[in-house]
């Protein structure tokens, strides 16, 4: 068990190797606006029932990362100026699911 508790850095905790999910079901990506990273905002992960599961502040590169269970998830982005965007994604153990969200 990690001693890190619940502490997650902005953008989400790192995976050991950028493209190697190991035994995790990783959903990660970037939020952009007009081609530039959205640095202030939040990425929320909702389960297939629409219930909130987790949230991270976007990183300086607009990045986010979740360690989900296999299945279908909804990613919701919130940013200043009432910006909202949603994407449906599927996650699998051992796979990094990448997505870019333009808002």
């Amino acid at each position: 068990m990690t001693a890190e508790g619940c502490g997650a850095p902005a953008g989400g905790a790192p995976v050991s190797a950028a493209k190697d999910a190991g035994n995790q079901a990783v959903v990660q990506g970037k939020v952009t606006r007009n081609g530039s990273a959205v640095q202030v905002g939040y990425a929320r992960l909702l389960n297939s029932g629409g219930d909130f599961v987790a949230e991270v502040p976007l990183g300086e590169d607009g990045g986010f990362r979740f360690f989900a269970a296999p299945g279908s998830w909804t990613l919701r982005v919130l940013a200043p100026g009432n910006i909202r965007a949603e994407r449906v994604v599927s996650a699998d153990i051992g796979r990094v699911t990448e997505l870019e969200v333009a808002v």
């Binding site: 995790q24 389960n47 219930d51 502040p57 979740f66 360690f67």
Partner: protein
């Protein structure tokens, strides 16, 4: 106790955050968030480095808490306004912690850092210089903290509220979905626990739902018996501090405890009963 006794809003903080006798404190899940920008004149408390014993799995002791608050320039009669990210998750934990050591003049900024940021309010990087104080803490208030034997004894006798996500409750995940999954303990939940994910108490902007909506959520929908004592738990006691705040501070339930050992302790105990599967 009314909401205004335990919650404050962004407009009040903008108007009074620099008043004498008011101390803003940011406590974030992302402990580097403060350094990138914080509300003017806010000081930082690191939930891990400042509040956890570095060796034993426990909180800093009374003397350690006194040293921490004295060093941060917080006096016994100061009004402490706590805020943080992720729906005030760790700020609510710090709130419970301040209450545990007897600091009663403490409030949460409703919506926390997220609402503040989404409203594009000012964040600064300059760190305030506060004069040191001589803070005196009380002995821990054990009326709001539960330990493992009390949780086992509560099975079938008290309300047990598991505030983790449904996947953690069922045993499919061992940690929140924004963190790597850990494998050291068993998955599942304490038998008879109701699953009310902590985040259901918050609106999308991080503010708390209305009292009526909260009573409906915990009472009508989850089936909590408001006439019984309650123990809330999660994985390491932070999310359940948020639920403790809702039940004890907002809804005024008299006997609510936070089990800070939570699933990382319970799920590693030998011989205790565990249930797996979705909420019934």
């Amino acid at each position: 106790m009314s909401r205004s006794d335990v919650l404050t809003g962004a407009d009040w903080v903008e108007a009074h955050g620099s008043d004498p006798g008011v101390v803003l404190v940011e406590v974030d899940e992302d402990t580097s968030a403060y350094d990138k920008g914080h509300i003017r004149n806010a000081v930082k408390i690191d939930w891990k480095a400042d509040l956890q014993d570095p060796v034993r799995r426990d909180f800093v002791d009374k003397a350690g808490f006194e040293a921490l608050l004295s060093e941060r320039g917080i006096a016994n009669d100061d009004t402490v306004i706590l805020y943080g990210g992720n729906n005030n998750w760790f700020a609510a934990y710090a709130y419970w912690y301040f209450k545990l050591y007897g600091h009663h003049n403490v409030k949460l900024l409703d919506g926390g850092r997220k609402k503040w940021e989404l409203e594009s309010r000012e964040l600064v990087t300059e760190v305030p210089q506060r004069a040191k104080t001589s803070y005196h803490a009380q002995e821990q208030d054990q009326a709001i903290r539960a330990f493992r034997d009390e949780v086992v004894a509560a099975i079938g006798n008290k309300n047990l509220v598991d505030v983790r996500s449904p996947d953690e409750f069922a045993g499919r995940l061992l940690a929140p979905a924004h963190l790597p999954q850990e494998q050291a303990q068993r998955g599942g939940h304490v038998p008879t626990a109701k699953n009310v994910p902590w985040s259901k108490a918050a609106e999308e902007d991080g503010t708390f739902k209305s009292d009526d909506a909260l009573r409906k959520l915990y009472g009508d929908e989850a089936g909590l018996d408001f006439g019984r004592d309650t123990i809330a738990y999660c994985r390491i006691g932070e999310r359940s501090a948020h639920t403790w705040f809702v039940l004890h501070e907002l809804l005024g339930q008299p006997n609510v405890k936070n089990y800070d050992g939570s699933w990382t302790e319970y799920g590693s105990l030998v011989g205790v009963p565990i249930e797996v599967g979705d909420a019934k």
